[in-house]
């Protein structure tokens, strides 16, 4: 409905974040356009989840700016980011096991009854939430147990499906997926990759974090590689191969011409020098 934006949907300008002595992100800049799927890859501890947590509002950057459709944002909490149209599937899933599927999908943004009494007493509209989730799952082609099943009773893959559905069911502009397929079987993985393609068709900007190069190469338009908190590669997927990506991640492959910034002095290729997150 709005005029086509001149700005990228999401832009980071030299964003940095440290956890004590660990410099998890060092001056990372990137842009994501509407309808673009960006694969964010890197070795363990490279800073992928840190980047996701900054964009999702769960932690503030130390330095640098986050812009959504050209407007600079400072997120006080994850709810601010969700209100700005950013949905996240966290690596740790962020589900409450003692709550049921519907309660988890709407956690933090529950639907209230519309009538004046309902609104002033903050009265939940449980029926509407149940119906929305049930029909949403059907639309997404997800087969899960009854929507009132407690999340504690779900398998790892089913939990992941709930976490993804929670992000996808909203009309969001940006969806961040931190290793969404890590615990999934073949069929569920296909469904998730299908989601990503569908989000793209709907003009949603997607950042997809994964360690599975086949999956990355299948669904993304562009690949960004992080190593030790720095962006070491940012380029179109075309002509990239799995071994090349792994080489970039580990530093075994020197940065090519398309690398956005000067190469950092990193000793010791292909070894796990940044494995402190494991």
């Amino acid at each position: 409905m709005t005029a086509p934006a001149r700005h990228p949907v999401l832009e980071l300008r030299s964003v940095s974040k440290s956890y004590g002595p660990v410099r998890a992100l060092r001056g990372v800049s990137l842009k994501v356009e509407a309808g673009e799927v960006v694969g964010l890859i890197g070795d363990n501890g490279a800073g992928k989840s840190t980047l996701i947590s900054l964009v999702s509002g769960s932690a503030p950057p130390d330095r640098g700016e986050i812009l959504v459709e050209g407007a600079e944002k400072t997120f006080e909490s994850a709810l601010d980011a969700r209100d700005a149209g950013i949905e996240t599937v966290f690596q740790a899933l962020a589900l409450a096991p003692t709550l049921n599927i519907v309660e988890n999908v709407y956690l933090g943004r529950e639907l209230l009854r519309r009538d004046p009494i309902g609104r002033s007493l903050k009265w939940l509209d449980k029926g509407a939430m149940r119906r929305e989730v049930a029909s949403g799952f059907q639309r997404l082609g997800l087969t899960l147990p009854a929507v009132t099943t407690k999340v504690a009773a779900l398998s790892g893959g089913q939990r992941q499906a709930v976490a993804i559905a929670r992000a996808v069911l909203w009309d969001s502009r940006i969806v961040l997926l931190d290793e969404p397929t890590a615990a999934l079987g073949v069929k569920q993985t296909e469904i998730v990759l299908g989601f990503i393609q569908r989000l793209k068709q709907h003009g949603v900007a997607v950042i997809f974090v994964s360690h599975n190069m086949q999956q990355v190469l299948r669904v993304v338009d562009r690949v960004i590689v992080l190593r030790l908190g720095r962006k070491v590669f940012d380029g179109a997927r075309a002509n990239l191969t799995g071994p090349q990506l792994v080489g970039l991640m580990t530093g075994a492959l020197a940065e090519e011409a398309s690398v956005a910034r000067a190469a950092p002095a990193v000793p010791g290729p292909s070894s796990k020098e940044c494995g402190n997150a494991v």
Binding site: N44, F90, T98, E110, T250, A252
Partner: protein
């Protein structure tokens, strides 16, 4: 596995109710006085005070916190009210001062625990000792008597032949049940108690909610202290002794998990009635007062055992916890080796 779940849910839902019925029938048979209207009124008054305090108390436990200072905040509120009355401040200002004492201490608890991250058990254990000690310092151990007929109505009056404390409890319970079952806050509490990091990363107010629950707990304790003071027409430093145990036992018997995340306010209602009926019934059948304490202690340990049992049953059912990151990492490093 397949029957464990329904069995567990059935027990959680109905076990306490049947235990309560058996308890009441037992005392009814063994004591002539137990079911007299005078004695039922006594039970209801105790249940009203403990139950009132157990409402924010149960919400705290649901959120993964606990308040052990409730009995001491009740006595502190009572003696500050008593001293203010004795100093001639008048009824309304004295009531306000009394309520402010408990509520203020509750806010102090909440600030230390929710915002500064202090341990809930240690901070409120400090309150348990500190607020009672302060009450003794203020009163030098003397009881203040005689607050007039209007104040006596709070603990002893009736409205439509229902005691005023029961009215207060009923209204508080309706509000509490609405918050627990019908507003987003009930879920948020369960999320904070069951998965605090997840709740935080979804933007749930993981500090604000527990803070206000401690304030509410202090406020409810203060009201409870004033109700008991009104019943006795005296603000005694021995008021509210052991109250935190009765309240917590009622909460845990009611099925609220001590680790947070799970529980029902209706269960807490039955748990509180159970404790009230148990301690009263034991008096009626002339059991030594020491044994009453043993009984409450045993009920608490029993409730803890139930809690463990429920958790075990939960875990039997849900053992498949795979480590996704490790699998993905193995894949990545395999590929890395290929390229090297």
């Amino acid at each position: 596995m397949s029957i464990a779940r329904p069995l567990q849910e059935w027990a959680q839902r109905n076990g306490l109710f049947f235990a309560l019925v058996i308890l009441i029938v037992f005392f009814w048979i063994t004591s002539e006085r137990f079911m007299t209207s005078a004695n039922v009124a006594v039970i209801l008054q105790q249940v009203s005070v403990d139950g009132l305090i157990a409402i924010p108390g149960a919400m705290l436990v649901l959120s993964g916190y606990v308040d052990l200072s409730v009995g001491s905040l009740a006595v502190l509120s009572a003696v500050i009210f008593g001293e203010a009355m004795q100093a001639g401040l008048g009824l309304a200002p004295s009531v306000i001062l009394g309520l402010a004492a408990g509520t203020g201490w509750g806010a102090f608890n909440g600030y230390l625990i929710a915002y500064l991250g202090f341990s809930p058990i240690i901070v409120t254990l400090g309150g348990l000792a500190g607020a009672r000690g302060l009450s003794q310092l203020i009163t030098h151990g003397f009881t203040v008597f005689g607050f007039g007929p209007l104040f006596a109505e709070l603990g002893n009056g009736t409205l439509l032949s229902v005691p005023v404390p029961v009215w207060i409890y009923a209204i508080a319970f309706i509000i509490g049940a609405h918050v627990w079952y019908q507003t987003p806050y009930g879920r948020h509490m369960a999320a904070i108690g069951g998965a605090r990091e997840a709740a935080r990363s979804l933007g749930i107010k993981t500090r604000v909610i527990p803070f206000w629950l401690y304030v509410a707990s202090g406020f409810a304790s203060a009201i409870g202290g004033l109700i008991v003071t009104s019943e006795l027409d005296g603000a005694s430093v021995s008021l509210g002794l052991g109250m935190e145990l009765d309240v917590l036992t009622g909460i845990l018997l009611g099925g609220v998990a001590f680790t947070g995340g799970r529980g029902s306010l209706f269960g807490v209602l039955f748990g509180t009635i159970f404790i009230g009926a148990l301690s009263n019934g034991l008096i009626q059948i002339n059991v030594s007062p020491y044994f009453q304490q043993v009984a409450v202690g045993m009920a608490l340990v029993f409730a803890a055992g139930l809690d463990v049992l429920y958790q075990r049953l939960d875990r039997i059912r849900f053992t498949e916890e795979e480590p996704p990151a490790a699998v993905a990492t193995a894949e990545a490093s395999e590929q890395a080796e290929e390229t090297a």
